[in-house]
């Protein structure tokens, strides 16, 4: 298990470095940051002054080297746009995104796994069809539309929940549902398929034959095996939620890291974009790494393979 862990860890570090170098060079080529920082109403001389002030005239590799050494010390520089340390800015925004991500993935798992199990237990019945309908809906509805529909119903008609902001737990209910519902269908389908496959396996027949209760067969024998691919998928979905909740954060005015990343690209706020790309890719890498470990623990065959 140790060798396996170390191998995966080494790979994760290499992937991180590659991502940072690639994203840095792509951003560098994408346009004149001085022009973007100067803003919409700046004159030509404003832009020139800013270019010199920020050192955009230096060679690419020098700028990357500077950035990387500081980043390793946790210093991501100053945001060009907000004129404050990127690390402070991101800590504030990331806490909201992480809270939303954890709530979203919990909501997705807590609804998708039971639905998937129920559908697999009674395949091709009304239960199965209903579960399928719910999941297709989730896949088909765009988040921005679903979010607005929820706002119209629960904020305007019923006046139960605030439409936007992040002041209290009530603010997170609708965003959680919208974000979680988007991730739910894939998890449900995978749980259902996994369960169906496992339920047909010999060791389930053996478990039943030796007189184990149906509950024990389902959860101890079947689900543990069926859930292996679900763990990997949930890890990827979690990474997606943290980096890609842009639409949800924008509609509900949550000011999280996803929205910050999106806006920072338009503002050419390189230090912020760069730090966020690194952090988002770290999320993917850490979650993939953890799911590898979890799967190795769930299924000993993976450790050797």
């Amino acid at each position: 298990m140790l060798a396996f862990t170390l191998k995966r860890l080494g790979l994760a570090v290499l992937v991180t470095l590659t991502v940072s170098l690639l994203s840095f060079s792509l951003l560098f080529m994408s346009g004149d940051p001085a022009s973007a920082i100067a803003g919409e109403n700046a004159s030509a001389s404003d832009v020139d002054a800013i270019r010199a002030l920020y050192g955009f005239d230096r060679p690419f590799l020098v700028q990357y080297g500077d950035w990387l050494t500081s980043a390793l010390r946790g210093d991501f520089g100053q945001s060009y746009y907000f004129k404050m340390p990127v690390s402070e800015l991101i800590a504030d925004r990331l806490s909201i995104t992480m809270l939303l991500g954890v709530c979203g993935i919990s909501f997705a798992l807590l609804t998708a796994v039971p639905l998937g199990v129920a559908a697999a237990m009674r395949p091709n019945t009304l239960i199965d069809r209903t579960a399928l309908f719910i999941s297709v809906m989730g896949q088909a509805m765009p988040s921005f539309w679903f979010g607005l529909v929820l706002i119209v119903i629960f904020s305007i008609r019923l006046n139960w929940l605030p439409p936007s902001g992040s002041n209290g737990w009530q603010n997170f209910i609708m965003p959680t549902v919208v974000l979680g519902y988007y991730a739910m269908p894939a998890i449900m389908r995978l749980t259902r398929a996994g369960m169906l496959e496992v339920l047909g396996a010999d060791y389930i027949r053996t478990a039943r034959a030796k007189g184990a209760s149906e509950m024990r067969v389902m959860f101890k024998h079947a689900l543990r095996n069926a859930v292996v691919p679900v763990v990997s998928l949930a890890a990827v979905q979690m990474g997606f939620m943290l980096g890609g909740s842009i639409v949800v954060e924008s509609i509900f005015a949550l000011h999280g890291a996803g929205y910050l990343a999106w806006e920072s690209i338009a503002r050419n706020d390189l230090p912020t974009v760069q730090a966020l790309i690194l952090i988002f890719s770290l999320f993917y890498i850490v979650f993939t790494f953890l799911s590898d470990l979890a799967n190795a623990w769930l299924d000993p065959r993976i450790r050797v393979g």
Binding site: G31, D32, S35, A36, A38, G39, E40, N41, A42, S43, A44, S45, D46, V47, A49, I50, L53, Y81, F82, K83, M84, L89, A91, D92, L94, S95, I96, M98, L99, L148, I151, V152, S155, I156, N159, P162, P163, S164, G165, S166, N167, G168, W169, F172, S250, I251, F252, A253, H255, Y259, E263, A266, N268
Partner: protein, 497 residues
């Protein structure tokens, strides 16, 4: 991290909203980069600036006259020296006393390009400020600058010298301190700003604030802003699209007020041929473009409200904005004739660049197609398009300019016709007139030369001026407010009914 998240959730709910809680909840659309007014270039920043700080002068929106604010009187000692007497007994929000040292420190700090004030044009006309005595100060300009009073009543506000020296722009952005009618209770960068009425506000022509608390949140999605408005979470929004505003007005639940802004839209034409040889370098073709587009129809159907067709390369109320210029009325036949005269009876193909209001650009494409011009829309981010324009690669682009709400033609005409990177006319005669108008202290000389420049710009059709923009202000029926064409939302002039 977990604890921050928890804190974000736990920190109290909304203050009692609306008139009952003496709190006006307002929404910003854009995340403001910095509250320090010298370090942002956003409309939201100007709005906060006018509430938190004061200028030396104040422009009375009704009379158009300059009045004393932090200064009580002023006079030009010579062409480049303005002497001001300062108001006594004014205190900043932190208790610091206001005097000549504050003016000297602020002016000398922001006028130094090393300090990187974002909008250099707002400050680089000042060379320095010199203290004469405790309540007398002289501002020395870099050259004759007749628009000085306009800037002193607008973007130039006075900071407390001791505090600013200690905390700098970063500290000022997080805990702003001024003399203005509102003091800042809290700032969450980009997303949340809370203002409290400043009880000790001096006897300023701006008037004391009457609403106790102004709570501003940034809500990027206009639909969410409307949802907040309906559910009572927000009392005041502006910049509401025309179609939404019409529906809101019909409901009768809110005050919906439309007012013009100083922003105008125009087609920038590469008359000088910076991007190579192409049809637009011919005057007849540029004139044809003017006749081809039904600007009135675009105003009536898309912009609506207080918007108007403009014919001169400036906003009509700006000083020196000559209105008696050649106007190109909608006449497709004339446009076709002009194209034929220029040697393009079958029309031609060209790129139209744009960065905002895609629907207006698309309407123009349709009008151009009617006279035989096939225009391909290239829709880019503002900064990307500006890079292209600055390197002279665009033949025709749909641009807009808000003049920073500066009510003087120097803020627009001179910005684009004095051979800068965004000048596609490169007309020496126009530049000479504008130079004269920008630096003369005699209003008659200024007017005459702006007029000459603007007439030639129209005759040569260097631009196709299109229309002025407008904004819809929507707010609770509990509140009263009269918006102004400079698009500055003045919270201190709002009151409960």
């Amino acid at each position: 991290m977990g604890s921050i998240a928890l804190a974000a959730v736990m920190t109290g709910g909304h203050a009692l909203a609306g008139k009952a809680g003496d709190t006006l909840n307002a929404a910003f659309t854009k995340e403001l980069e910095s509250v320090d007014s010298y370090f942002n270039s956003a409309r939201e920043g100007v709005i906060l600036q006018r509430s938190i700080w004061d200028g030396l002068l104040y422009l009375n929106q009704e009379t158009g006259e300059y009045e004393g604010n932090l200064a009580t009187s002023w006079e030009w000692v010579d062409d480049t020296t303005l002497e001001l007497k300062l108001r006594e007994g004014v205190r900043f929000h932190n208790g610091e006393e206001f005097d000549a040292d504050d003016v000297v420190y602020t002016v000398n700090y922001v006028a130094d390009p090393e300090n990187g004030a974002v909008v250099q044009r707002n400050v680089n006309w000042m060379k320095e400020a010199v203290k004469v005595d405790k309540y007398t100060v002289r501002i020395v300009t870099s050259g004759p600058f007749p628009a000085a009073l306009e800037y002193l009543s607008g973007p130039v506000s006075i900071y407390p010298n001791e505090y600013y020296a200690e905390v700098g722009p970063a500290g000022m952005a997080l805990k702003p301190v001024g003399t203005g009618p509102y003091m800042v209770e809290s700032v969450e960068p980009g997303k949340h700003f809370v203002l409290k009425k400043y009880e000790g506000y001096h006897d300023s022509p701006k008037g004391k604030a009457t609403i106790g608390t102004v709570d501003i949140r940034t809500i990027p999605d206009v639909n969410t802003q409307l949802a907040e408005l309906f559910s009572g979470g927000v009392d005041f929004i502006w910049g509401v699209p025309a179609d939404q505003a019409e529906k809101l007005a019909a409901m009768g639940r809110f005050n919906v007020v439309n007012e013009s802004t100083m922003r105008i839209g125009y087609l920038e034409l590469d008359a000088a041929g910076r991007s190579g040889d192409h049809p637009i370098t011919k005057r007849a073709v540029r004139q044809a473009l003017g006749h081809a587009i039904d600007r009135q129809a675009i105003v009536d159907n898309l912009l609506k409200g207080a918007s108007k067709v403009v014919n001169s390369a400036c906003f009509p109320t700006q000083f020196g904005c000559e209105q008696d210029v050649t106007a190109y009325d909608y006449d497709p036949e004339k446009a076709k004739a002009l194209l034929a005269e220029a040697g393009y009876p079958e029309g031609f193909e060209i790129d139209l660049y744009a960065y905002r209001n895609r629907e207006y650009a698309e309407a123009m494409l349709a009008y151009l197609a009617e006279v035989g011009i096939t225009a391909n829309l290239k829709y880019l981010q503002y900064s990307a398009l500006r890079d292209l324009r600055r390197s002279g690669e665009t033949q025709m682009s749909f641009q807009t300019w808000g003049s920073y709400s500066v009510n003087d033609a120097s803020a627009i005409t001179s910005e684009f016709f004095k051979h800068g990177a965004e000048d596609f006319a490169r007309d020496d005669e126009v530049k000479a007139w504008l130079d004269l108008a920008d630096t003369s202290v005699d209003p008659a000389v200024r007017k005459e030369n702006y007029s000459k420049a603007l007439k030639k710009i129209a005759d040569e059709a260097y631009w196709v001026p299109l229309f002025s923009y407008n904004s819809n202000y929507v707010f609770t029926q509990d509140a009263e407010y009269t918006p102004t064409p400079d698009e500055v939302v003045r919270f201190f002039q709002m009151r409960w009914k």
